[in-house]
Symmetry: C2
Amino acid sequence: MAFATRRFAENGFHPTSVSDIVDGIGVGKGVFYWYFPSKDDLLLEILRQALVDLRRCQQRALRPARDPLEGIELGIRATLAWSAANPEILRLVTFGWTEENFATALAKGRRIGIADTARLVRQAMDEGLIEPGDATMLATAIRGVTDELAREFVERGTDVDHTVVDTAVRMCLSGLRGR
Amino acid sequence: MAFATRRFAENGFHPTSVSDIVDGIGVGKGVFYWYFPSKDDLLLEILRQALVDLRRCQQRALRPARDPLEGIELGIRATLAWSAANPEILRLVTFGWTEENFATALAKGRRIGIADTARLVRQAMDEGLIEPGDATMLATAIRGVTDELAREFVERGTDVDHTVVDTAVRMCLSGLRGR
DNA sequence: TCGACCATTGACCGCTCGGTCAAGGGATCT
DNA sequence: AGATCCCTTGACCGAGCGGTCAATGGTCGA
């Protein structure tokens, strides 16, 4: 799976053949189909595991938060750190959105992620930390900032340094606090 | 090109064959290769035209702006309106990022778009409307908000109503104005 | 020592793909 | 009428794909 992830990310999913993968790791083709029912299922499995891993990272990261806004901040930082550490996965996710059977799996993960954030946003509203509003939409916007910055810096090959992370955090938090 | 755009968006680029396209519009295969050197070039051409069209829309939209921040706002609104009007293109763009020869074309368009925004941000800094900072990075974050919200609503099939646009605008502007 | 069984091999299959090209309209000009 | 040129056709091609499977190690319990 690690090797396939790398190849898919470098070459694209369709242009990378099953033969490429098995030849690359020096095994026969049969062994691939012994462990995976199809090439599509391989990618699905890679995506599923990645989403689970990301969410676990986020949850672990925001545990020490003392209030919802700090939780959001820690979540953003964790997401960016994870993205920086898994650039290949990001490319696969991007591709996944362009074909239906992968997109449905991703949509599930995204709904979950946004719901996680929205819960924190709603808490912040309840505690009077920010003005009331559509929590889900705000959570979507936050995801937008983090996703795009992550994508940008993965692409540029730059390490995600503090400046970027701080920008993302500041934009999201002051965006939440409203005009 | 219109038909191919639709098919690519629905089915994915690789799963849609040239035969699908020419059969779909009722012409022979030869006529395709008379007008396009290859299937890849067709997609490249679609993307190139789309990026040009988007930029033209943005430029036209922000002409009546009286100050840089208003320019940014009008640009965001124009981008979201265009995205809502061209959902298929958005899918193709997403796919394009996953394969190198399309990604390079897109990267060029993105650099241009971010530079356009960054110029406005820098102007706003010079005029003292917002605090100084890294204009390009802020422009990147703005693009993140708009892209993601656009993608979200295109996907949900919902029309982009005023609430969404206003949220995007508010997040970006108050994000710019800083803490 | 000998099956039983899990894991592995890679030649092979049918199929579809992107791309080619000889042949054939059908305007337009001479 | 004939020649020229532009556009169009669709049968055809080699290549490479995802996926199969009979054959074959290699390991371990009896």
